[in-house]
């Protein structure tokens, strides 16, 4: 049983560990033990009966569904973030409990009955809105990715998609358009920016161009059909489609309209990137187009013969136009099939059926978005930036297939 470092094993994990000791066949009994009326059921079953699920009544319906005890889906936490297991997922929606996290001083506990949003500054009427108020406005649902701009790791061949770029996830977000709220308060035409502020211990703040507020910004209170998770900003957060994740301020408590940006710590000393000639690029809002093969990828083990290469591609500047696959380390490229629907500013699935002859080779994916931007190689990007990493670093990822079936990350 894999236990996350620094965390006490949960009851389930402890039980699962014991199950391993008992051997795989005993799994059903342990699962049953977690259900109502289970102890009696468990006592009655024998090892032989457990091998055949048709010989014993199943678990009765419950209040909340659970994952199969055979599935081990976990995020990978550090002190400041936790990564989505991209290599373990299918389709493009991230299960809410596996959505990546990036917090600036922990996840606050907020009682929605006591939480308020204040909108003030260059407006005709300053307003206080509660969660209940926000839910009364016309609602909008939209499927979008959210990605942290610091989403690049390298340096070892034993890195999984989760390690390399697990700070991107996708959900269906539901809430109210910020433009609807702007109309309620009567925005002064001279306002050019707004400040968004969170109710966490970092009192996180970002300045956002007002046009984004009118275009497609939302205040969202639901994710994948239920209230957003505390880690995602409960009871509600700002959501800025296509923009770097930290700007979608979580636990939103205040919006102030202004005629200048505030130059907060996050938008100056943190989420900026050193580029060529000693310059520092700031207000890099858009997430650059990126793709990654999530299968086959480390730590998968593959066999020669037919392999469906799968992955996701996305762009903060619009729709994915094309994904290409190389199975010869970038020498030649062939188009992959996109798994529709292809949505604006959304993870888009791709697949490419390929017959591997078992000889060592490297597979890569590269995306082109609807603006004509093509995902660069690591070399091209490092040369253009004058750096080997940093924020908004989105190079092509290559996976080396070894003759023994191991799949390893190619670095550089």
């Amino acid at each position: 049983m894999k236990v996350i470092p620094g965390e006490k094993p949960t009851l389930l994990q402890t039980k699962v560990s014991r199950r391993k000791l008992l051997g795989g066949a005993a799994a059903a009994a342990v699962v049953l033990a977690e259900a109502p009326f289970a102890s009696a059921v468990q006592a009655a079953v024998t090892q032989a009966e457990l091998t055949d699920p048709t010989k014993i009544p199943g678990v009765p319906p419950g209040q909340v569904g659970t994952r199969s005890a055979f599935e081990k889906l976990v995020k990978k936490p550090s002190d400041i973030s936790s990564r989505t297991p991209l290599q373990d997922l299918f389709g493009t929606i991230t299960p809410s409990d596996l959505h990546f996290e990036r917090n600036h001083n922990g996840v606050p506990a907020i009682d929605p009955a006591k939480h308020e949003l204040v909108i003030h500054g260059m407006v005709e009427k300053s307003l206080v809105l509660t969660l209940a108020d926000l839910k009364r406005f016309p609602s909008v649902s939209r499927i979008c990715f959210l990605e942290c701009s610091g989403n690049f790791r390298s340096g070892s061949e034993k890195l999984s998609p989760q390690d390399i770029c697990g700070l991107t996830s996708q959900s269906e977000w539901t809430g109210v358009m910020l433009s609807t709220i702007f109309r309620q308060v009567g925005v002064n035409p001279k306002a050019t920016w707004f400040l968004a502020e969170g109710s966490d211990a970092a009192v996180m703040t970002r300045s956002i161009p007002i046009q984004k507020g009118w275009d497609d910004a939302m205040i969202v209170y639901a994710q994948n059909g239920e209230a957003i998770r505390p880690e995602q900003g409960y009871p509600f957060r700002l959501f800025l489609p296509g923009y770097e994740g930290n700007m979608s301020i979580k636990w939103l408590r205040r919006i102030e309209l202004s005629d200048a940006p505030y130059m907060t710590r996050e938008e100056t000393s943190k989420y900026t990137e050193p580029v060529k000639d000693g310059k520092i690029r700031y207000f890099s809002f858009d997430i650059d187009a990126r793709s990654i093969i999530t299968f086959p990828a480390y730590p998968a083990q593959v066999q020669k013969g037919w392999i469906e290469i799968r992955g996701i591609a996305w762009s903060g500047r619009g729709k994915v136009q094309q994904v290409e696959i190389s199975t010869d380390a970038g020498k030649s490229w062939n188009p992959a099939q996109l798994s529709g629907p292809v949505l604006d500013k959304a993870h888009t699935g791709f697949r490419y059926l390929w017959q591997w002859d078992g000889r060592e080779t490297e597979i890569q994916s590269r995306v082109t978005d609807e603006t004509g931007y093509q995902q660069p190689t690591y070399k091209a990007l490092a040369a253009a930036r004058g750096s080997k990493g940093g924020y908004h670093f989105n190079p092509i990822t290559g996976w080396v297939l070894k003759p023994d079936g191991r799949v390893l990350l190619r670095n550089g």
Partner: protein, 187 residues
């Protein structure tokens, strides 16, 4: 904004302030129009705004009364900040705050473009384990201590709502706006 719209808007807002009725326009198919005013929520009082309106802009807007010096800031830093940032703001274990050399990470002296940001961030988020507990005087003094250690201000400079926005940060000249708008160029 044309005159008719202005008048309509005024009527809507007046209606809101006086709290009567809904102004939702009837529309076919149950779709709201972009200028529908819903009257949800409540008007914010000055107290609603003041409790949270703590942001500071580079032009000094939002800076509170009070003042501070590096001399006072030194002892506060030793007591409340040094455990994470090191005795002189260099040693860590967390973010290095002091450097005048551009090769030494993202410290205040070599990377922060505005002095007002130092005040704003310390006041809202520091100390990390007790955020929001410092007085305005303490924040001015810590800001002075850090700017002096980074050799951005002369020793003995008193910082207040007038002097702080006037401080010129060495890194400002390095900042360039992101002007990428998609297309084939890699930058």
């Amino acid at each position: 904004m044309n005159a008719v719209f202005k008048i309509t808007l005024s009527i809507l807002i007046l209606g809101w302030a006086s709290g009567f009725g809904s102004f939702s326009k009837p529309s076919s198919g149950g779709v709201f129009t972009s200028d529908t005013i819903f009257n949800f929520g409540r008007l914010a009082t000055p107290a609603d705004i003041q409790r949270w309106d703590i942001d500071i802009r580079p032009d000094g807007k939002g800076l509170p009364k009070g003042s501070g010096t590096a001399q006072k800031g030194k002892s506060i830093f030793a007591q409340k900040c040094a455990a994470c940032h090191g005795v002189t703001g260099v040693e860590g274990p967390n973010d290095r705050l002091v450097s005048t050399d551009s090769s030494q990470g993202k410290a205040i002296g070599n990377y922060w473009p505005y002095a007002t940001t130092v005040f704003d961030y310390i006041r809202r988020a520091m100390p990390f384990n007790q955020p929001g507990t410092l007085t305005d005087e303490e924040v001015y003094s810590l800001t002075a201590f850090l700017l002096e250690a980074n050799r951005v201000i002369k020793p003995g400079t008193e910082l207040n709502a007038q002097t702080l926005p006037a401080v010129q940060m060495p890194a400002l000249k390095r900042y360039i706006l992101d002007d990428r708008r998609g297309g084939p160029i890699i930058r």
